[in-house]
């Protein structure tokens, strides 16, 4: 477990370093309470999507969920259209909010189950399957909304989720934190978590060991879809309006967050806390560059550089493990391993 804690330490160090640089160049405003709240309210959207991608990746066999943001937008758009057809956001504020929230999460769940069934039952490669469902979800959102933004409005309860604070912490961020903790606990303490990681490490062995493969896959993508639905709800709560093409850049950013968090792309390993810290690090960096008034192209460059640094350090780590005075070998089976440098 030496390596795990190291990834965590590194993410913490990077976050602290970013905060320090932010404080230095902004003369303190970067560390103001308001900016923390502002940044915290921006994290959940991408953070929830990234956790979904992480779960899909952990399932192994090239697992990935590309349909995240499309499903989030679909759940927002569809819920807004359906719920406002029988409830008014101004007349029955609480009813509208509750119906809207239940609907977004429900649609996210349903979309995730569709992904899971397609992947487990029809054996479609996850990247192709979720690419297909991504387009289908987006297309459906376009059809339902006619390609225009749909107004959700700001009924009391919903607008609180988007705008209010609880003990100084944005409620959206609290939801994100609770959900992340919940999923971390599920991964750690339930048989599902163990099955997921072991199946990701060696799918063939998992099948022979009698793991419920279909069940695990459907559950994984269903959770990922539900997280998308939650993200859709938070987007709607913050922005008042929802649109089918919101956050089109999130797809790649979510994957970036996950890779930076040290989740193994080949499956079998990933920690929620690292994903959360990695999402926060990206947020700090992008806010920092906006504070510094730098071009957003610099941001893309900086993100890429950060990712490469992580990959390089990860590789260096592997070399560290091969050093004679640390005889511990982490390989968990005879399965294919990444090529290791011999020295």
């Amino acid at each position: 477990m030496h390596k795990t804690s190291e990834q965590l330490i590194m993410l913490v160090v990077i976050n602290v370093a970013l905060l320090a640089v932010g404080a230095a160049i902004s003369g303190g405003t970067f560390l103001s309470l308001f900016n923390f709240q502002s940044m915290a309210s921006q994290v959940p959207e991408i953070g929830l999507l990234a956790i979904g991608v992480m779960l899909a990746m952990c399932a192994g066999n090239g697992g990935i969920d590309l349909s995240g943001i499309a499903l989030a937008n679909l759940s927002g758009v569809l819920s807004a259209v359906i719920v406002s057809s029988f409830l008014s956001a101004t007349d029955s504020e609480t009813g509208f909010s509750l119906a809207f929230m239940a609907m977004t999460v429900g649609i996210g769940f349903a979309g995730g189950v569709i992904n899971g069934l397609l992947i487990s039952k029809l054996n479609i490669t996850p990247i192709l399957c979720t690419l297909g469902t991504q387009m289908a979800f987006m297309g459906l959102a376009v059809v339902v909304s006619g390609g225009k933004a749909v107004t959700v409005g700001s009924p009391d309860l919903l607008s609180r989720i988007g705008n209010d604070m609880f003990l100084g912490v944005p409620i959206g961020f609290l939801i994100f934190a609770v959900v992340a903790a919940l999923i971390a606990a599920v991964l750690k303490f339930t048989p599902y978590g163990l099955w997921l990681m072991l199946m990701g490490t060696n799918p063939k062995a998992a099948v022979y060991a009698g793991f419920p493969r279909t069940g695990i896959l459907v559950a994984t993508y269903a959770i990922s879809g539900t997280l998308s639905g939650l993200a859709g709800m938070i987007i709607a709560a913050r922005n008042v309006n929802v649109k089918y093409d919101y956050g089109s850049s999130y797809l790649l950013i979510a994957i970036l967050v996950v890779v930076m968090a040290g989740v193994k792309p080949e499956g079998g390993y990933g920690r929620v806390i690292c994903v959360v810290l990695s999402a926060i690090a990206l947020q700090l960096m992008s806010s920092l560059l906006n504070f510094g008034g730098l071009s957003n192209f610099v941001r893309d460059f900086a993100w890429g550089l950060l990712l490469l640094t992580f990959l390089a350090v990860g590789r260096y780590d592997v070399a560290g493990f091969l050093m004679p005075f640390k005889g511990q070998n982490k390989s968990s089976g005879p399965g294919p391993q990444a090529p290791k440098p011999t020295n």
């Binding site: 190291e6 330490i9 590194m10 160090v13 990077i14 370093a17 970013l18 640089v21 230095a24 160049i25 902004s26 003369g27 405003t29 103001s32 308001f34 900016n35 502002s38 940044m39 309210s41 921006q42 959207e45 390609g147 225009k148 933004a149 107004t151 700001s154 988007g162 705008n163 913050r238 922005n239 008042v240 309006n241 649109k243 093409d245 919101y246 956050g247 089109s248 850049s249 999130y250 992008s286 806010s287 920092l288 560059l289 906006n290 504070f291 510094g292 008034g293 730098l294 071009s295 957003n296 192209f297 610099v298 900086a302 550089l305 950060l306 640094t309 350090v313 260096y316 780590d317 560290g320």
Partner: protein, 336 residues
């Protein structure tokens, strides 16, 4: 733990290197900051707007004027920039929204914090104190058509192109054009409102079809930025340059060749440079708590006598007279 500290050192050094560039770009700023946020940075239209922001900064050393925008065309990215700028504590925002609906919530929070909000190209934006438009859409459409009918000698068949039937401004432009054409009874509108989807190639094919169907057509009025290029190419290839009139929205640089060959009679546009300056000028007035009144001079060419109306929300709608019609003789003054 020796290796661990080494890794941390490496990571730390990488981050420090990454950020070294950002340090020093910020100075202590006591002057009010007006931050212009555009739809997307790095495209000619908003590069041109940036020249306006830079010029405004030069002319007004008592404020700090900057421009930023997302690297990708995504409303969510623009939203983040606006939110970060609000947190940074700028005094005024001048936003060209990618999607007015998406940023309503954030602009409202910005105004609640006492930040002055000015928008452009968003006359349906509710949460703004002032939306600056370069011109009245009806006037613009009528002006395009006046130029077209003049070229056509006030008679003959003509048709119109719009980006899509869902594009509100384009329909306003051709609508005003049709109204203007009614003044000339010999002008006959045929197959109006062809959709171009702002795709020069699709427009080219469509224009060729129309030329086959109506060999005696005399004029085209187009709306989306690439339409003049498509129709112009079709006319050029058919050897009709100068014989059939073409007036539409377009930018001088891409249209230069076709203007020279005579395939395009005239292009209409507004200058994003001037629009950027006008937005900043309005933001400064609002910062100084000075009123913006009907007929006021913003000190920017094309905005010397603005019309002030009530906007979509609480704010006002400021309409300038920033339209530019350029033909072969005059387009060189506006190369962008």
């Amino acid at each position: 733990m020796k290796t661990a500290s080494k890794h941390i050192l490496i990571a730390g050094a990488a981050v420090a290197a990454l950020m070294a560039g950002t340090a020093g770009t910020l100075m202590a700023q006591q002057k009010p900051v007006i931050a212009t946020v555009v739809k997307i940075s790095g495209i000619p239209w908003f590069d041109r707007m940036n020249t306006g922001v830079v010029a405004y900064q030069k002319a007004n050393p008592d404020v700090v004027a900057t421009q930023s925008g997302p690297a990708t065309a995504d409303a969510a990215q623009q939203l983040q920039i606006i939110q970060d700028l609000v947190a940074k504590g700028v005094n005024a925002l001048a936003v060209v929204p990618m999607d007015p609906a998406v940023i309503e919530g954030t602009l409202k929070r910005a105004m609640d914090r006492g930040i002055v909000v000015v928008t452009h190209e968003a006359d349906n934006q509710k949460n703004t104190q002032a939306d600056v438009e370069a011109f009245d859409n009806a006037d613009y459409g009528a002006a395009l058509n006046a130029r077209l009918s003049e070229c056509m000698g006030n008679k003959g068949k003509w048709t119109t192109f719009v980006g899509s039937l869902g594009s509100r401004t384009h329909l306003q432009w051709v609508g005003a054009g049709e109204a203007n054409a009614k003044k000339h009874p010999d002008m006959q509108l045929v197959d109006p409102n062809n959709e171009s989807f702002d795709d020069a190639n699709a427009t080219y094919e469509k224009a060729k079809e129309i030329l086959r169907k109506h060999p005696d057509i005399k004029g085209f009025q187009t709306s989306a930025g690439n339409d003049v290029l498509g129709v112009g190419r079709a006319l050029d290839e058919a050897g009709l340059s100068g014989k059939v009139c073409l007036v539409g929205t377009g930018l001088p640089n891409p249209s230069a060749d076709l203007l020279e060959s005579g395939a395009i009679t005239a292009i209409g546009f507004w200058d994003p440079q001037k629009a950027g300056m006008a937005m900043n000028a309005v933001a400064k007035l609002l910062l100084e708590k000075k009123p913006v009144t009907d007929g006021m001079d913003l000190g920017v060419e094309g905005y010397n006598k603005v019309t002030v109306k009530k906007g979509a929300g609480e704010g006002m709608l400021i309409v300038g007279n920033g339209m530019v019609l350029a033909d072969k003789a005059s387009y060189k003054k506006h190369m962008f």
